[in-house]
């Protein structure tokens, strides 16, 4: 069996399964997001974590699929010009409910007139994932800080938690260097992020990611750099 024949079949199965799963997830997420506000406090607290779980399932699906496609060189990477304002607005919209549920405030810091070239779907995925992650580690504040530094777009997600552990920082560095020591869901998320960063190239410069401690709140910082 030559490559050209096996590839399309698997992809067709994936596409069909993805279609089904995404439909179900859409309905679930929509339900949870619309109904939880009309529930009393008791029920609300029980339902909120459910939304978080469903979103995790979705994020994992998205990441796995992207990794599969990129690995086989058929992800339709599209470098388009994006308004940072629109980009941030959508990320906030997608995560507002969760933020409210967890009582986390999100601070936004970026130039409303800035635009940059990147693959909107992939970078949104990475940023949302970083936000979701940070929501768990943070105390009660998050900051999304986007700026232009040395010809790179720098996206920072900062929390006011206790910061990343040393091993976590090491893992972050390793993945960025292309050596993957992580496994499990941590590995998946980091690998996805580093893959997306590396897909972005311009005139010899390549994207990168990093985990550090510090930032405005002195907690953990997720940093994505795109050329």
């Amino acid at each position: 069996m030559d490559n050209q024949e096996t590839q399309p079949n698997i992809t067709a199965f994936f596409a069909s399964a993805m279609h089904d799963m995404k439909n179900s997830l859409s309905v679930l997420i929509n339900f949870l997001e619309s109904y939880h506000t009309v529930l009393d406090e008791n029920l609300k607290n029980k339902v909120a974590p459910m939304l978080y779980e469903v979103k995790r399932v979705n994020n994992n699906l998205v990441q796995m699929l992207a990794i599969y496609k990129v690995g086989n060189e058929f992800y339709p990477f599209e470098m388009t010009e994006n308004s940072i304002d629109e980009f941030v607005s959508e990320i906030v919209m997608h995560n507002q409910t969760l933020l409210d549920d967890l009582g986390v405030t999100l601070e936004l810091d970026y130039d409303k007139n800035m635009t940059w070239y990147f693959d909107r779907e992939l970078v949104s995925g990475v940023t949302s994932h970083a936000l979701n992650n940070a929501m768990r580690y943070t105390h009660d504040k998050l900051r999304l800080f986007i700026t232009n530094e040395d010809g790179y777009l720098v996206i920072r997600v900062e929390d006011n938690g206790t910061g990343y552990s040393a091993s976590m920082l090491d893992t972050g560095n390793a993945v960025n260097k292309g050596v993957n020591f992580a496994s499990g869901s941590t590995g998946l998320g980091l690998f996805f992020t580093s893959m997306v960063a590396k897909l972005h190239k311009h005139r010899g410069k390549t994207g990168s990611m990093a985990l550090e401690n510090g930032g405005k709140f002195g907690g953990g910082c997720f940093v994505l750099r795109l050329p």
């Binding site: 399309p8 993805m18 929509n30 979705n58 339709p76 311009h202």
Partner: protein, 538 residues
């Protein structure tokens, strides 16, 4: 944060999704936004039925995956092709994931946006508002383009650019227009301006297109490879790279790139077809056959289907001694396509199948049908098909028809030695060398005289007469490159003297387009192109 509800209140929406849960969810969301006029379709067929109704929708939310049959992209293509939606209609494709299958089509059939599931209500509202606002802004421009009023469209673009909103989009529309009408100099200027700041993929690809049209294949290849290097799955760049290798006659490289493309994007009908054609030319029959079959399968649901793959596969089947399948495919060409030239080609091939399977009665029948078609429109067949037809007609014993066909080929290509040699070859095979030479010489002389007369009239300053003379000549021989060029030159001289005329200008540009199709490397085309561009507006 949100604009008033009226953007949704007074507009007509169509939802298309095969999943009941999604349909209900989307309808509820639109209602919340203030929509009062919402149609809901559960399948591609139902969607087309709604779209066929007289009042056009303002916005369509269509899932990409609609189960068996057409997908959302194909529904969009049919809607645009059949004018079931207007230039002001916003089309958003809702999808579980973005795949390379979606970026397969031509630019004019792209949706206005993609929304990835799961759909967030606030995000949907925000996206719809933006898309609807953008369509509004671009409405006048799109209308002008639709009416083929390219100059008006260009000035509208310039006017709209000032406001700074959809600038990128407008730049793309403007550069596409410039490329379409052949203003390569201006397009190049715009692309270079964008590239001075950043290597934007579509702009660099655009610059490569300019190089291609100017015959600078190596420059084009260099640029396209740079784009692909940083954007490994950017299909448009791959497509043009294939074109450059085809132009250079390097079919091996063209095929190699196309094979890689079809791995990335296996469901692109156009790419599979091109792969089939190239592999066929190279004699790679297995690859060609597979690609043709895939093309035909993909074409089943597409309104943009063309008969090339049917014809190609029929030829392979004939060569592989499978006449039954060949005949079935050729029948399908007549049945499924409204394409006279393709039907003619299919007839020729049908005749050749009967000759191969030793069926003189049917071959005779086809020969008669063919003669009738050719007599009605002698210029219908391209030179290659005509020569094939002549070969068949000679074998079928219809010498007169064969000669007439070959005479048209000579007249349309009187200065193309390679083709004339092929014509001679045909006559030789039929044992008519002497007649051939006489006919060829006479035909050539006639065309040369016609041309010379036109040129003389022009030289004598009788420009209107020259234009009329050559216009008649090109009506008789619409595929003669020399006549087309001379006609163009005459119009240039006329406009240089008397000022620009919109009618002459568009007629001239049409001619150059035709020349480009007949011979992309003809240097005078570019020369006349530049001269046309230099004619000042009034």
């Amino acid at each position: 944060m949100f604009t008033s509800d009226s953007i949704f209140e007074n507009r007509r929406f169509l939802i298309v999704d095969d999943f009941q849960g999604m349909r209900a969810m989307l309808r509820e969301m639109l209602k919340t936004f203030g929509s009062k006029n919402i149609s809901v379709a559960a399948s591609a067929k139902e969607a087309i039925t709604y779209l066929e109704q007289s009042d056009k929708y303002d916005a369509v939310l269509c899932d990409y995956n609609l189960g068996p049959g057409k997908n959302g992209q194909q529904v969009l293509e049919e809607a645009k092709f059949r004018h079931l939606i207007g230039p002001a209609t916003a089309w958003v494709i809702v999808t579980a994931e973005k795949t390379s299958d979606m970026v397969i089509g031509a630019a004019e059939y792209m949706p206005d946006d993609y929304i990835i599931k799961p759909i967030n209500e606030a995000a949907l509202r925000s996206r719809l508002e933006k898309v609807i606002a953008k369509k509004s802004e671009l409405h006048d421009i799109e209308k002008a383009i639709f009416a083929k009023n390219f100059n008006a469209a260009l000035s509208l673009c310039d006017k709209a650019m000032g406001s700074g909103k959809a600038n990128n989009e407008i730049l793309r529309i403007k550069t596409n227009l410039l490329l379409d009408i052949g203003r390569y100099d201006k397009a190049k200027e715009l692309f270079e301006k964008i590239l001075s700041v950043r290597d934007v993929p579509w702009a660099k690809t655009g610059l490569a297109k300019v190089a291609f049209h100017l015959g600078e294949m190596e420059t084009a290849q260099r640029l396209l490879k740079e784009v692909i290097d940083e954007n490994r799955t950017y299909m448009e760049a791959h497509d043009w790279l294939v074109k450059t290798y085809q132009q250079q006659g390097d079919l091996e490289e063209a095929q190699r790139i196309l094979l890689r493309c079809t791995e990335t994007s296996p469901n692109s009908m156009i790419r599979q077809k091109t792969l089939g054609e190239i592999a066929h030319k190279r004699g790679d029959l297995d690859i060609a056959e597979k690609a043709y079959r895939k093309t035909i399968k993909l074409g089943e649901n597409s309104i943009l289907n063309t008969p090339g793959a049917h014809l190609g596969l029929a030829k392979i089947c004939t060569d592989k001694d499978n006449p039954n399948e060949a005949l079935q495919l050729l029948k399908d060409v007549h049945k499924e396509f409204d394409d006279k030239a393709a039907s003619l080609h299919a007839k020729v091939m049908e005749g050749m199948v009967y000759q191969k399977t030793d069926d003189p009665i049917n071959a005779r029948k086809v020969a008669e049908e063919l003669s009738a078609i050719i007599q009605e429109d002698p210029n219908l067949a391209s030179a290659d098909v005509a020569i094939e037809a002549a070969g068949f007609l000679f074998k079928a014993g219809d010498k007169e028809a064969a000669e007439s066909v070959l005479q048209t080929v000579v007249k349309n290509n009187h200065d193309n030695d390679a083709l004339i040699d092929q014509v001679k070859e045909m006559f030789d095979q039929a044992g008519m060398e002497d007649d051939a030479q006489q006919m060829i010489d006479t035909s050539r002389r006639e065309v040369v005289e016609t041309n010379n007369k036109g040129v003389t009239l022009a030289k004598e300053g009788k420009l209107e007469e020259a234009i009329q003379w050559l216009r008649n000549a090109k009506t008789m021989l619409p595929n003669n490159k020399q006549i087309l060029l001379n006609f163009t030159h005459a119009t240039i001289l006329a406009m240089q003297k008397k000022g620009k005329s919109d009618n002459l200008m568009s007629e001239a540009r049409e001619c150059l387009k035709k020349v480009s199709a007949l011979d992309p490397l003809e240097p005078r085309r570019i020369q006349y192109q530049n001269m046309l561009d230099a004619i000042p507006s009034q």
